[in-house]
Subunit: 551 residues, 2 copies
């Protein structure tokens, strides 16, 4: 080793310090605190001032643990008492608090510039006179990008954090309840993949997704009548990322995107983040109307043909053919979002997938609703010329989804677990749907015709337009039930508000008895908002779209 | 149930068909094929034409399996022989092929409009005279968004797919080799999480990430001298998504982003996808120069202070302080990308994190390089006012990363496995670094001073500017070694090309003996490109930045 180092020194202008070749010891990185012996202030005073300045700048946030006194005195090459003194003064001045055995932690400081008062720490001491004022923080609000301040993005940013398993009955959550998730099957497949592939399952996934998963997805789709080959499949982090990547590939700021109105709030967020102009298509009994020339030259048509979110409508076969023909003729790509794929609860004939009518249709779906959200796996079937760009933008967005989870899902599907589990889920969802709808019928006492959905995991209740939805949602929350009000699905500029006037009730997350109780609580909340007088006793919203509707 | 249905009929204008309430049987969705008894063509001829039309439109892609004859005849309500006859004609005409016991599959068709000839199927028969021409596909190239056609995105889209574990020695891949991945520790933690939390680990994650993981990340950072509290942490799908979400939050199309030149290719993709104008800062011995007024009003300063990718430089403490002061004064957010965090191979003093100097700095890192890429977990420490927007945009992009993997990583960190594994990795990386650098020194025979990096998992070799990097990379590939050439890291508009003139050699993925052989192959490739004459025997690129550099 000596020989090698001396060889290097001969060639290199700057030989490495001797220490550089020693085996590394674990050590804490310096925090950049420094003391100046020439400074007229004492060392402990300097240290006090340096730490207060960091706290003021937010560099040492509340809860941050200062280095142990011995470590810091070593680093700064001062007597330990210097650090002890500085820490004691910091504690007296209310900047930090010490707990024996745990250490010294930065406390929450009242901030001068905060718009809302921070939680008050009753133990906080008035800052000492030598405290410097916190440096002004960056003007974050004015630094935000235009698209980041659009309404659909702000709507999420504002959203109250909901406890995942709080006491409220959750009819807003579009995911299988914890009791429905195939923990054992998943564990078995995970173990098998890790055992068989070891570290090879733990690297990055190929750009387009693991080959075995793409093969299984194509087979799974073919079984459901959606023609696909493995080459068509690009694996994504849920169908959310699929749509985001499609939009980033095709939509420039200012471009128009057409949607069924109302539509999925997560899609509205994606369009907003892309700076798109969103136009809503009105619906008749067969689905959204074929766009007229007045719609200009849209860049994308986004549809959920089998079970529209939130209203639950299913587009008729004839309308599908008309829309595909229109799109091909006008050169407008269609995105077919089949998020409720494989969630057919009743044996109704389902019209062919739009992708089965035209191979240029971009078809996307996800394994979150019917299998496991935490897989974070969705996919898009895309025409060959578009695939390299979709892969590149997915790489840009996140370097792909987890290879381990991709291989695990492939294993689940290959073993037939996915299909068996989906069949079990359909049975449970059928019972849950009936539990919710029966209870709604009972408690709403005929006020609204309650649809009984034939597909998917949500029911849509249209409401009189005089009811303020946000306020209804708040009342429901106070009654102990969470619902998704129609305003979350509105955002298309030409969307008639009436289309989204109602609430979406999900029956996938909660078990039957809680669904029934949730229906009772919701009916009670609705009672408080119901317009007076018989004239408005029936909904004026669009016809309820349930199992019999729009097929 | 009968009672309920009749109740519904009384209220609902359209009662559900009786079949709707029967338990669903698994059934294939119709493909939308239909026959018309009034049509002058025979039924099998109609079916033939319908299927050929779908193949022509790409709706039935190559490899797609047609429904079994019995199933299709049931669906269409025709005699099975009609379907058998149509399938036989399709096979004779070369559209499909049948395999006994497997089914009937669509074949690859030569496409009239393809720019490159498709792989020729020697078994393909000339299309029969009744074949309709394939419908023209959508003009995808002209439909792409402007940002999707920018150079850094096209660069990835063009990239040859590399086999994950092919025969070539891979010095381009920035990930731990499969032998280094902690399969057993990960399996143990996964099993523990699934066992303890069951279905609760398999839903969607909270917007900002799982609380237990945020807590562990803050502790892990504090151990390394990066001040953080759990509240500061937002969990993302790798640091790639963290940067993407930051940029989508702050950068409008046309805004300027400042980077150290050259810089990480994945960051250049993100900036390109945002429509940003990227300007490269030149470096001196202490790091990138503090921007002058001529730089206009940039919206972001993106830095990798501890181990720049690709060149490996480390910004001095003094320069860090200058940059932080400049950014605060000018109101420019700094992104500190510490992707090589915890990968310090030699005991050199590491300057304080920029985030430790100013709490407004956005600090991001990932567990991909030092732990497991397939976790797809990174994070960003962000000032409080920015957090809701970052969360909303992450929700928009992918609904968050896998809750199961978040809880598993929290478990890994809490048990101390992460820290123990990182220590083991540092030892292995040190040996691998030495194996690579020693072999390079031997085979390059003094042509280039080979830096021995003190941190991270890559070495940077500056090369004479007369060497064509793309061509060198191709020669190396033919010799059986993959390297990352400097052109992948260049893309800033004012980036002097010389800055990126070299190759990056990663020593994390391959074991020692393959690293040594890779160095030999690379030296052989370089020999073929080395300029003639003694004058250019030494690199004219910037000074090699290794363990002694820029600290």
């Amino acid at each position: 080793m000596t020989r090698r180092r001396s060889e290097r020194s001969e060639r290199s202008a700057e030989p490495a310090p001797a220490a550089a070749r020693e085996p590394a010891r674990p050590r804490s990185r310096s925090l950049g605190l420094s003391l100046d012996p020439e400074d007229p202030r004492s060392l402990y005073q300097q240290l006090f001032d340096e730490i207060v300045a960091r706290i003021g700048k937010g560099a040492f946030p509340p809860g941050f643990r200062l280095p142990p006194t011995r470590q810091l005195s070593d680093e700064l090459d001062v007597h330990r008492n210097t650090v002890v003194r500085a820490y004691r003064d910091l504690e007296e001045a209310g900047f930090v608090e010490s707990t024996v055995g745990r250490g010294t932690f930065v406390k929450q400081l009242p901030r001068a510039s905060a718009t809302a008062p921070p939680p008050i720490d009753t133990r906080a001491v008035e800052p000492a006179p030598h405290t410097i004022a916190p440096a002004p923080s960056l003007p974050w609000a004015s630094l935000l990008a235009e698209r980041a301040t659009s309404e659909p993005i702000r709507r999420v940013a504002k959203r109250t954090r909901r406890p995942l398993f709080g006491p409220a009955i959750d009819l807003s959550r579009l995911q299988p309840g914890p009791d429905l998730l195939p923990t054992k099957l998943l564990t078995r497949c995970l173990e098998h993949v890790l055992d068989r592939s070891g570290g090879r399952a733990l690297g990055y996934a190929p750009l387009e997704g693991a080959a075995s998963l793409r093969e299984q997805i194509a087979l799974d789709l073919a079984r459901q009548g959606v023609p696909a080959s493995a080459d068509d499949v690009i694996v994504t982090s849920g169908s959310q990322q699929a749509l985001d990547v499609i939009v980033r590939s095709l939509v420039d700021p200012g471009d128009t995107v057409l949607v069924q109105a109302p539509t999925y709030g997560g899609a509205l967020q994606i369009f907003a983040a892309a700076g798109a102009r969103v136009e809503g298509l009105s619906n008749d009994a067969e689905g959204p109307l074929v766009p007229t020339a007045a719609r200009g030259r849209p860049k994308l048509l986004y549809l959920m043909p089998n079970h529209a979110n939130p209203t639950g409508g299913c587009i008729s076969e004839r309308r599908r053919r008309e829309l595909v023909t229109w799109a091909r003729g006008r050169g407008v790509p269609i995105v077919e979002d089949d998020y409720a794929e494989d969630l057919e609860l009743d044996t109704l004939p389902t019209p062919p997938a739009m992708r089965a009518l035209d191979g240029e249709v971009l078809y996307t779906s996800s394994y979150s609703k019917r299998l496991v959200p935490a897989l974070r796996i969705g996919f898009v079937l895309a025409p060959e010329p578009l695939r390299p760009t979709l892969c590149a933008l997915q790489h840009t967005a996140s370097l792909g989804s987890s290879l381990l989870l991709q291989l695990t899902l492939a294993e689940l599907l290959e073993r037939g677990y996915g299909r068996a589990h989906a069949a079990r889920m359909r049975e449970v969802y059928r019972s849950r749907r009936d539990a919710l709808v029966d209870a709604l019928e009972k408690h709403l006492e005929g006020r609204i015709a309650v649809p009984r959905p034939a597909r998917g995991v949500t029911a849509w209740l249209p409401l009189p337009s005089s009811i303020d939805l946000e306020s209804l949602g708040e009342t429901a929350r106070r009654e102990g039930v969470l619902v998704a009000t129609g305003d979350l699905f509105s955002g298309a500029r030409t969307d008639p508000e009436a289309d989204a006037h109602g609430v979406r009730l999900a029956y996938c997350f909660e078990p039957e008895e809680r669904l029934a109780e949730g229906a009772r609580r919701f009916a009670k909340a609705l009672e408080a908002h119901w317009p007076q007088g018989n004239a408005s006793k029936r909904s004026k919203g669009p016809r309820a779209e349930g199992d019999a509707a729009l097929v």
